[in-house]
Structure formats: structure tokens, C-alpha cells
Amino acid sequence: MMRAACCILCTVILMQPAGAQNGPAVPSFVDETASSGVNSAYTGDWEYMVGGGVAVFDCNSDGFEDMLVAGGEAMAKFYVNDSPRGGALKFTAQQSGLELDKVTGAYPLDIDSDGTMDVMLLRVGENVAMRGLGGCKFERANEAWGFDGGDAWSTSIAATWEKGNRWPTIAIGNYIDRAAEMEPWGSCTDNWLHRPDTQQNKFAAPLPLKPSYCPLSLMFTDWSRSGTPDLRVSNDREYYEGGQEQMWKIAPGEAPVLYTEAEGWKYLRIWGMGIASYDVDFDGYPEYFLTSMADNKLQTLAEVPKEGKPKPTYKDIAFARGVTAHRPFMGDDLKPSTAWHTQFDDVNNDGRVDLFIAKGNVAEMPDFAMKDPNNLLLQGADGKFVEAADKAGVASTAVSRGGALADFNLDGLLDIVVVNRWQPAQLWRNTTADAGNWIEVKLAQNAPNRDAIGAWLEVTRGETVMRREIIVGGGHASGQAGWIHMGLGGAAEVSVRVQWPDGTWSGSHSVRANSFIILDGAKAAAMPWTPPR
């Protein structure tokens, strides 16, 4: 039914962003790496060829999103955000307790639902759950929360609150057996599912997810809109034997079960490195972009029955939509590309979600591009994407891995941070002068799951309904929490509502464009918010 609720044509008519008459408006970014105060590289040799993430979240309650950059062999670095609203990006390195070595990725997650953000650190070695203490201070909580960090090469994470639980369920993706020096291929180690224990205030012993195939991205996602998210796993075919892409049914209280070919799951084997999801075609169901090497996929459901309940059968529309991003779009290096972090978001506020991809050679793989620029693919009115990273000023050819699109200076425009291997992370400030309108939304509800992970946010402009799922996971080793940004095109006012994780709907809130609001499940009205500086 949701598929029929609107059509691309309606969307085209309604969205009139400035400069969009001849294709999508190209945003402008300024590289502020040097002046930002961020100076952190992802380092290390073979065991750090993957990973290199960044966690973006607000830990001092000023509304500005701070960040933790994975350092690989070096210590992770935490930066507090001192940017003035609408001004240049400014960060200050600060001791937070998160400064551990061997960190491959990081995801913010309020595990104990105390309203203070915690952080999950993925590592080569023991993973660590870091409890937020407030004021951007953190402490190890593995023992207090019964979290078994294990000893693996952890590369990916996803989290959800299963129905009825007061404590989150966390899936951890693990990579190659580090001890299998002579025969690393086929040595994928078990992924883990950390569910709550019976007391619901800490974790039970992790459950191995067998078979495991060296994932580089995990995502709990309600792909069928059933109300219960499943676990999508994007696996690196370089190292598995007999493997493929996977999706686990995660039914509360039951053992995880893989979707099968008989149920519609199609056999797909790629160098899975990152997952991004978004309802790109406005049909109510998320599309999934999967990064790989020269073979990126944009998946949409093959069929959505009128009564809903689709089968988990996806078709690849990357070629048709112009998002194959299979080789560098500029320069003279035409070898195949290597894609890592990916994220859908609207960088020009035209109401159509765009796609960012971080690119970079694994390491000295001469068959693949060594100068592999990041992609910024802008979605046009026809639903096709066009490359604009060079024109927008973000086409770095550094060896990129993780990243995030976030509004660091709270001006309604999404900025970009990218983590690079062996080279400093880069920051670009979005300075687009003629961008469309926007809103930014924060969701809140009573404990547990204070940040409403698993909710769906709906923003309606005329007959166009934009939807996005609130997730912890996906991307490449990089997680975000905080403001949810939606571009509005020319709309001056929109209707906003939320389907909370328990399936109930909020009322519709009329919200003026270019504003911040907090939607609290416990409160009837949307609360406007103004940046403190």
C-alpha cells in the first residue's frame, strides 16, 4: 500500500530546490581539515586494512556533534565540537577515556538507557563497551554490563532493542582468524549476537552466528515493515568459502535463523564492505546500497504485494540509477574502484536523498585504482544519480575508509568527515548558498531505548512522504547518533510523525522549515530547539 502512496512524478512536481532546473543543485564544500583541529590517521598494517571508522554524537549536551576517530594501531582520538553555529568547523582534542589502541570502528549507543550516550568500540582484540558519564567522559563497562569483548578482529556492529527487552541486542561482525597466517582464506571467525540476560540489565554470553562469512557491515533493519527488524550482513567474499550475503531472522526470544533461497533470498556474493539504507523511491520500504570492489549494488525489493509482506528478494538497480561508481570518475586512473563507507543523505536539501561513498585502495593492490576519489552522487528529479564530488569539492583521493555526513555547525547543511588510512582524516564544511530548506529532528522516548532505535521518521510535503529508519549499524565501521537531517526542497512547512519502535504512531506535527525539533514519545507536542551558540 505504501508503494502506491506516492510516485516519483508527484515528487518531481513538489520539489523545486534552487538551481535544480538542469539537474540537481551541486553543493559547495570547503576543506577545513587543516583549521578544524582534527588530526588523526587510521594506522597499522595488515590487521588494519579494513576498518577506520568514526563515531559522531553529542556527549556534552550542547547539541553539537562531537566525534571519535579510530586510530588503528595508534590510539583513537576524541574531539569535542567547538564550532560556532554556521561557522567554520572547530574541534578540540580532549581526553575522554575512549582513547584505546587497536580500535577499528566506533558506534554511539545508549546501552543502559540512562540518557547519556555510551560508545561501542570495535577492536582487533577485545571489543569494549564504554559507558558515558556525561561531559564527554567514558569508562569501561564490559564487566559491569557482562559484555564479553572476546578476542577477534571485529569489523562491524549493529544494535536493536528486541520487543519486550529493556536491554539492547548487539550483533558484532568478526573477520579473519588472525592466527591463520598461512591460510587466511576460509578462516572467517564467528559473528556474535549479544542479547540481554534474563535480568535485562546486562548481556548474556554471546551467541555465535553460524555460519559467519567475514562481514564488514551489519544492519538491523525492518526491511519488510513487519515491525520486527532483521539482521542484514554484508560479507567480504575475499575470505569466505561457501558464503554469500546473509539476512538473519531475529525473532524475540528465538534463535536466529537465516533467510533461505526458498523464502526468496537470492544468492549474492560480493566484496561486501558497507551498507546504507534509505527509502530512496518513496514506496515505504528501504533500498540498500552495498559497497564492494567495482561491483556496488543498489537493491530494491523485486516485488511488493498489495497486501504487503514482501519476500526478501532484491533486484539490483545500481546501473539503472547511475550509482555503480565502479571506477574513478576523474583523473587518469581508470582501474576499478574500492568502496567502503556509504551513506544516504540530502546534501543540497532538495528533498531527494543523495549518496556518499568513501573510496580507497585496500593497500597496494595495483589492479585497483590507487587514486580513487570519493563519490558524491546527487539524486536528480528522474531518480537517477549524477556524480558531483569534484564540483562540490569533496573528491579526495586519499585512501579512505569510514566517514559520516553530519551537520557539525548546525546550519542545516550536512558536512562530511572521512577517515583515511595512513593519512589524516578530512573534514569538509558544507557552504552551499542556494540549498533548499531543511529540518533536523531528534527522537526521544522513555527508557529503555531512549533514542528510539528502530523508529521510522516520516516527513510529508504535499503528497510526498519521505521516510527513514533510525538505526545503529551499517556504513563502514562508523556510527552516528543525534540530529536526523531531512532536506525539504522548497517546502516552507512539513508534517512530521514517527512510528515508534513499539509500532505505535505519534500524531502528526506541523513543523516550519529550517528548524530543529525534538519529538518525545512521552510528550504530545513537538519541542522546538535552538542551538545554544
Binding site: 591460510e183 587466511p184 568459502e241 561491483d295 585496500v362 593497500a363 589492479d367
Partner: protein, 438 residues
């Protein structure tokens, strides 16, 4: 020739899953065990090196086989050099003194040099494994040997390998750009001509369109084993062409579980398997180990098999781009069922003849010449990928199954399979005419 290791006949007792655990096997240091173990590493590298499409893999199997063969022949009274018999190969470096070489170390040094070069583009994990494997094996093989013997053996192995590598550079297949897909290629106009079938942007061009022009080994050129034209293209429902397409369509819509299994067993997708030529090399190694073949037998078999596989691909590619025929998926969707989906992913190059059939026909006849007719064997190539071993009464039976698997998979018409097998047999005749024994 005096050498303690060459007296041991067994080829090494490793299972595939223990390919590199050299120190744990009971006879890990015979020259034939060294050769087999390097090949097992090569099978892994083929799978994990992105440029290694089946034609590229077959070329490396040929050069690696010749490298090992010539390294072994220099110290063998059984083997006769291929110099002067293969196109452009002569002047193989000779040993200074036969008595003071360690055969296992010669083989090791030759393969180490060759593998490092032929797989120089593999990823960081492959590089790491190659380095550790070479270092570990060298340390084990050198133990108890005098410094001069070590130096002389390594130098000779490297010299042979370097000579073969130099020779390989001029065959037309040494440099692979963009994983073998040209950046520009003009499709042949015409209803029956090949068009891209993939949704992958890179594969909108055909794989290695000039491969059929490469220098061959045992056959004179890529045109040396020509094929008749495929059935005349027609959209008429009474035509042979339509009937062949309908056969693919009908068969694939009613596949038995066994037929599906056969299609997947021989699918041998690049980067997900050792590729079709690697599949046959895996079969050969399994048999050589099982039968405890000596160095001469092992080196001879792997050289001849590699040459046959490589020449088969050149001949096949020559024909593919001569006839430039469209794939079943294109024809069937246009004229029979627009929604039809083949079981296997259609390879990104013209249809006729079937490459797997050509190279399987060549491999089967070469292995039959080595091991004999009706030689039963079990093929466990894909066991670690979860596919059960399959037993065959003969190499030819396996080749026929490999051929028909492409029809079950929906990627080839019957004529491409039958004539591909014929073309393979033609290639094998040339290879089997080589004089490898004294």
C-alpha cells in the same frame, strides 16, 4: 644425480585443507611435494587475485607448469626439455654441475620466483601468505644443506624461472588492465551478435577481446583448431537456432536437483573458485598426491595440463570473437520469455564456443594420455565451499559433465558445448604430441 630428497617418491600427503602446513606432513620436503604445495597456494591465489579470469589463470598455469618442468628436467634423466618444442621457447639455463643441486630447493626457488611474479598484483593478504610460505619452506628445505648447495640450487631455480618469465612477457597476455575489460569496444551490429548481459558497469565490454591473438604454446596460433560456424542465427521457430534456445529454456525451467548441483559444481566462477582451469589443476594434483607420483610424473603432468588449458583458452577466444554470438539470456528474453532467469550468472563475453567445454575437453584428453582411459577419480575441488565431491569413471565423463553444466546453467546452447569439447580435443592432440620424456 645424488639427492636425498629425490629418492622419496611420494608427492606429499597434504589434504587440501592443510595445504600449507608443511611441517606437519609426513613427507613434506620431496621435490614433488614442494611442487604440489606451491600449486595449492597458486589455486588460492588464482581465486583471490582479481585479474585472474579463467583465460588469465590458464596462462599462468602454463608458465608455472613449464617453469617447474624445466627446473626439474635439468636434473632429471627422465624428462626432456620443452625448449624448441613450444613456440618461442629456447635457451633454458643449464646447470653447472648436476651433482650438487638439491632438487626440492631448485623447484622451490623456481616456483617462488614465478609465483611472486605471476601474482605480483594479488592483494595484501596474498602477498603476506606468499612471503611467509616462501620463507617457511625455504628454511625447512635448507636445513642440513651446505651453503654452496643452497646457493647453487636457488640460483638455478631462479634462473630457469626468470628465463620463462622473460619469454612470457611477449605473448600478448602479460598485462591485464581493468580486470580484462577494455574501456572501449565497438559491438558488432546484428541481431545475432553478442550484447552485454550484465548489470555491472565494468562488464558492458567483453572480457579480453584480443585474447585469441595471444601467442600459443603447442598449437601454432589461436586459429589452429577452427570450428564450424554455429547454427545459423534465426528467430524462426522452426529453425535450429530457435530449437537450441528453446532447449535451454525448457531444460532450465525443469531442472532436477542433480542438474542444479552439476551446474553449480562446474560453475567455477572467477574470484569465488580456482576458476575452470584451476578446477582441472586441482583434480590433477589430487590424483598425483593420491597415487604418490614422483617428480617427473608430477612436473610432466602439470606442464602438459597447463599448456593444454592455456592453448584451449586462446583457441576458444579466437573463435568466440570470430563468431561473436549472443548469449541464451539475450535471445530467450527477446523471443521466448522476457522474464527468464538462468541459474548461473552469464559470463560477459560471446557465447560460441563454450570456454569451459573447450578447456575441459583439452584437459580430459591430456590427463587421459597421462593416466589412461577409464581412469576413475573423485573430484573434491569444492569441498571447502560446501559442495560434496563427485565421482567420475573417466576424465572424459567429467569433461562432458562440465560441458552440459553450462546448458543446465542457462549460459550456453548445445552446439557451443559439443563443439567446444571437440576444439579441446584438437588442442590436446597437439599437446600430447610434445616429447616430454627422454
Amino acid at each position: 644425480m645424488i639427492n636425498r630428497r629425490s629418492l622419496i617418491a611420494a608427492c606429499g600427503a597434504f589434504g587440501f585443507s592443510a595445504a600449507f602446513r608443511t611441517a606437519q606432513a609426513d613427507q613434506p620436503h620431496t621435490p614433488q611435494a614442494v611442487l604440489c604445495n606451491w600449486y595449492k597456494l597458486v589455486l588460492k591465489l588464482v581465486r583471490h587475485t582479481p585479474t585472474y579470469s579463467p583465460p588469465v589463470a590458464s596462462r599462468s598455469f602454463a608458465y608455472l607448469g613449464i617453469t617447474a618442468f624445466e627446473a626439474a628436467a635439468g636434473g632429471s634423466e627422465e624428462l626432456r626439455s620443452l625448449a624448441g618444442q613450444l613456440n618461442g621457447l629456447d635457451g633454458i639455463p643449464r646447470r653447472e654441475t648436476v651433482q650438487t643441486h638439491d632438487e626440492a630447493l631448485v623447484i622451490h626457488a623456481a616456483l617462488a620466483f614465478a609465483v611472486r611474479n605471476f601474482f605480483g598484483n594479488t592483494g595484501p593478504t596474498g602477498q603476506r601468505v606468499m612471503k611467509k610460505f616462501e620463507e617457511k619452506l625455504f628454511a625447512e628445505l635448507s636445513e642440513g644443506l651446505g651453503a654452496e648447495v643452497i646457493q647453487r640450487s636457488v640460483a638455478h631455480g631462479r634462473a630457469v624461472a626468470a628465463h620463462v618469465l622473460d619469454w612470457s612477457a611477449g605473448d600478448g597476455g602479460a598485462v591485464i588492465e581493468n580486470m580484462g575489460f577494455p574501456h572501449d569496444f565497438e559491438l558488432t551490429p546484428g541481431a545475432g551478435k553478442w550484447v552485454p548481459t550484465s548489470l555491472i558497469a565494468q562488464q558492458q565490454m567483453p572480457l579480453l577481446p584480443d585474447w585469441g591473438q595471444n601467442r600459443t604454446f603447442a598449437i601454432a596460433t589461436g586459429a589452429s583448431c577452427p570450428l564450424p560456424e554455429p547454427p545459423a542465427y534465426s528467430e524462426d521457430k522452426s529453425s535450429s537456432f530457435y530449437r537450441e534456445a528453446l532447449e535451454v529454456y525448457d531444460t532450465t525451467r525443469a531442472l532436477t536437483d542433480e542438474q542444479k548441483l552439476i551446474a553449480r559444481f562446474w560453475s567455477d566462477d572467477p574470484m569465488l573458485s580456482p576458476t575452470p582451469p584451476g578446477h582441472w589443476v586441482a583434480i590433477a594434483i589430487h590424483i598425483l598426491e593420491r597415487d604418490k607420483a614422483g617428480l617427473a610424473m608430477t612436473a610432466d603432468t602439470l606442464a602438459r595440463l597447463g599448456i593444454a588449458l592455456s592453448d584451449a583458452f586462446v583457441a576458444c577466444w579466437h573463435a568466440k570473437f570470430e563468431f561473436d554470438l549472443l548469449r541464451p539470456v539475450t535471445y530467450i528474453r527477446r523471443h521466448i520469455d522476457a522474464a527468464w532467469e538462468p541459474l548461473l550468472i552469464t559470463p560477459p563475453f560471446p557465447e560460441y564456443p563454450s570456454g569451459h567445454s573447450t578447456q575441459s575437453g583439452a584437459a580430459a584428453d591430456v590427463l587421459t594420455a597421462v593416466f589412461g582411459d577409464n581412469f576413475a577419480f573423485v573430484d573434491a575441488t569444492h569441498e571447502r565451499d560446501g559442495m560434496a565431491p563427485r565421482a567420475f569413471p573417466s576424465f572424459w565423463a567429467a569433461a562432458q559433465e562440465a560441458g552440459i553444466s553450462r546448458l543446465y546453467g542457462g549460459i550456453h546452447f548445445r552446439a557451443a558445448i559439443a563443439r567446444g569439447l571437440d576444439q579441446g580435443r584438437c588442442v590436446a592432440q597437439h599437446v600430447n604430441s610434445l616429447r616430454t620424456r627422454t
